[in-house]
Symmetry: C3
């Protein structure tokens, strides 16, 4: 749509429509039909673009865009604008309007393998080379890409999208509007090994994984099932790629797990927290609501709600910043210390001289 409409706009929508969709106010755009959204330097006269920060706002002359998504208070010099208190969100919503996710499969492919007692909702898109076990329940409008394997007794909600080569193992429960990116593994056994004196005896993992509504799981994640009970990814959690979540972990609502993060067994992560890239935490601790674990931090004990922590072992981020600024100057501090020692020695010599 954006391709053809770029220079015509005939099939587009009004700026008011987009403002209603995205949350904001249309300004100076009467009669304009917007037919797509494109980057600042590429958008044409029937497209909208985002100018959300000072660097774009200072060079509005340079875009041919027919309309601008701008923050409240921005001067657009009479150009059509969608003024939003959260222009980044407005941008995301308008992008989603013009670029609905692709839906390359519809119906159930003859080249998929479906088990017994399959309860399938309306309008499925089940690709070739999908393999679904027995007693699986799938909600409406689910889309399963090729190579997806769904184990026995799995339940998927409505509007679930599962990308290629994902493995969802037996009895996992997946909520509505969940997205699972390619190669992820849901429901692998936890890493539980009981020492038997010489080696290890595998602890069976009889629990499950529960993923609630509106969760997005990144590519090549591994989410282990509970030993007993469940590993629980709550509503609205978003994980980036290559994230590891161990058995019996709970991740609270709207929490972000950035790429290559690892969470050890039975840890509890609060709501609206962030674990940044390559961070990790030990098991059996709690990371509080709204806490932030900075990239590469290694969390060895519980983190209070709202705390920001850095480093290995993790400490409050402010302290870490101070500490690191000194660490970088340690060679200089050491010199100073050795200098002081020399000078003190001299003084002590003199002092002795005085005293003798």
């Amino acid at each position: 749509m954006s391709g053809n409409g770029r220079e015509r706009g005939g099939e587009g929508v009004s700026l008011e429509f987009l403002a209603g969709l995205a949350g904001g106010q249309a300004r100076d755009g009467e009669g304009l039909r917007v037919s797509g959204l494109r980057p600042f330097d590429e958008a044409g006269p029937f497209e909208i673009t985002a100018a959300v920060n000072a660097s774009y706002l200072s060079r509005l002359d340079e875009t041919r865009a027919g309309a601008l998504i701008v923050p409240v208070g921005a001067d657009t010099r009479g150009r059509p604008a969608l003024v939003s208190p959260n222009p980044y969100l407005a941008f995301a919503k308008i992008t989603a309007h013009f670029h609905p996710p692709p839906r390359p499969y519809s119906g159930i492919s003859h080249a998929a393998v479906i088990g017994k007692e399959f309860a399938c909702g309306a309008d499925p898109g089940i690709a070739p080379a999908v393999v679904i076990g027995n007693k699986v329940t799938v909600g409406d409008r689910c889309l399963l890409y090729p190579g997806v394997v769904v184990g026995d007794g799995v339940v998927l909600g409505d509007d679930v999208r599962i990308y290629p080569n994902v493995s969802v193992l037996e009895r996992s429960k997946i909520g509505n509007r969940v997205i699972i990116h390619a190669g992820a593994v849901i429901g692998s056994d936890g890493f539980g090994q009981a020492p038997d004196g010489t080696g290890y005896f595998k602890i069976p993992h009889t629990g499950t994984v529960q993923i609630d509504d509106d969760v997005e799981i990144g590519a090549n994640n591994t989410i282990d099932r509970g030993t007993f009970g469940r590993t629980w990814i709550q509503r609205g959690v978003k994980t980036d790629n290559l994230v590891h979540v161990a058995h019996n972990v709970t991740v609270g609502e709207d929490t972000l797990l950035v790429a290559q993060t690892g969470i050890s067994g039975s840890a509890t992560i609060g709501r609206h927290a962030v674990m940044a890239g390559q961070s990790g935490c030990v098991g059996h601790i709690t990371i509080g609501d709204n806490a932030v674990v900075i990239a590469q931090a290694g969390v060895g004990q519980s983190v209070p709600p709202g705390e920001v922590v850095s480093g290995t072992p993790a400490m409050p981020h402010r302290q870490w910043l101070k500490v690191q600024s000194i660490v970088a100057r340690l060679p200089e501090l050491r010199k100073k210390l050795l200098d002081l020692e020399r000078r003190l020695k001299r003084l002590e010599g003199k002092g002795d001289g005085h005293g003798s």
Copy 2:
């Protein structure tokens, strides 16, 4: 079984039977039939539960469990108990008894693709969408989930379980009772690139991967083949998820590699060692038997047997603990140093005064 038997127990086993199985002594449980194992707060009168630490032992009144797995010396006030010197191991073994791993496939699916000269043992479970190359040998009772790809000339032992979407590349040798979790890659090329002045020329990897008996490989692991020779995962090794093992590495018997660990090329890890989560080591070094690499440590040189190391660059863990406790107080130490400097200057001034 546990479901129906929970309140009846009729089909259960005796506590003596479980004690024999798990290693321990049955006490006060004459006539009891145990039909399942469940968590402390959920177990019913015909189920056994684990009460392995003080926190559970102090509230034995609160479980309805018909029998308790307890450590030697625990006072169970006359309740049926399985007393074990290693109650965690007993718990694991009894769990395994009541929850044998699922076996959702039997026979060779018509929707699997099997190459030439396939030597298949007794009682296979080869799922739909499995693809097996030529000259593959598979032992008895092997279970291959959907999406498993087995390359030419691969050999699997008996009782091997390979979960969905695992790739086992050509000529890999897998021992008996090996478990490979979903998405793992066995036998990818090592990362060998010969600089040619401007870029790199790929070094062919003609070696193999050998995985010995009783190894468990975690989800989405990557185990590279040898350049020449083999990458060798010895008996009893257990790896967690997202672990990377480079070409020509040897991992010794009963060693644990925790999640997101990375081992560089030609490193040798000893027996019964532990590399904790997100740790890594450079290539061509040796980590000794029984050594422990603490989480996130970066090992740059060989580690003696039995040593525990932390940090990047890794140092003995005791030293690291001391160092880190000081690092956290560096701002305070720096202040003290600057204070000393001021005071010394003053003294030097005075000294000069005296001396002049």
Copy 3:
């Protein structure tokens, strides 16, 4: 070939031929036919082996090899030798000659699923359980292993090899001679989430991934597509296993990304740079040409061309080495500081005595 030819050599090639192939000079090998390449301790009289460093060169008596790959200036005491200014490269090239990569599939398998408007080059090798979407273009001699999923509109160049269970999502563009190892994901959505006050709204990712000629992507990598525009892996880049490349990243020509490295969104990595194992960088920065990021480093700001950086936060490697040598001795420095403080106090006491 190497097997049969080991003791005969009849079908082999001349040392001159290999010298031409590998770049170097044949010496003392007239009439010799070389039929394979094997390790130093295993090679036989019709095989060539590499003796590229002092440890091998000092024990040339111990190999039965018929010819030696050696550096310029090495004394081979009259034994047939291929003398090369870059013997490691020569070794790689000769290995590649004797061990061309396997090609287990030819033609298009009946058990592959091919979409509409498939433009397939000459001599494909498309395995069973490959699923190719619509409007896909594939160059000559491409090899797609089982479980490979290729999305709509993907373009592959000539001589591309894609190992099992790789997902190449819609509209990705892959150049010539690209190798993608098993389990990798190309074109997953970037991790873009717009906060909406309570949770997050998914930012659609409408961009693509472009991978240029001669790139090698490691097993279980995740390469996200651009939000708009592209994520761009330029010619000659080699990535190790479990590497994460976020949306809109550019990785410059001939750069190496070692295992478990993570690159955040919109970062630009220069040409011929190295990011060593488990290193990471934040988004929107530039790592210059020829820069080296040492293993486990966390890069928080741009790195100039040619710089070598270590640590978290990353600093110049030389500084980091100094700093770390002091960090390890912090307990001792702290003692010295406390000692100085005590001695200073004593002096101050004396001084007061003098001054009173």
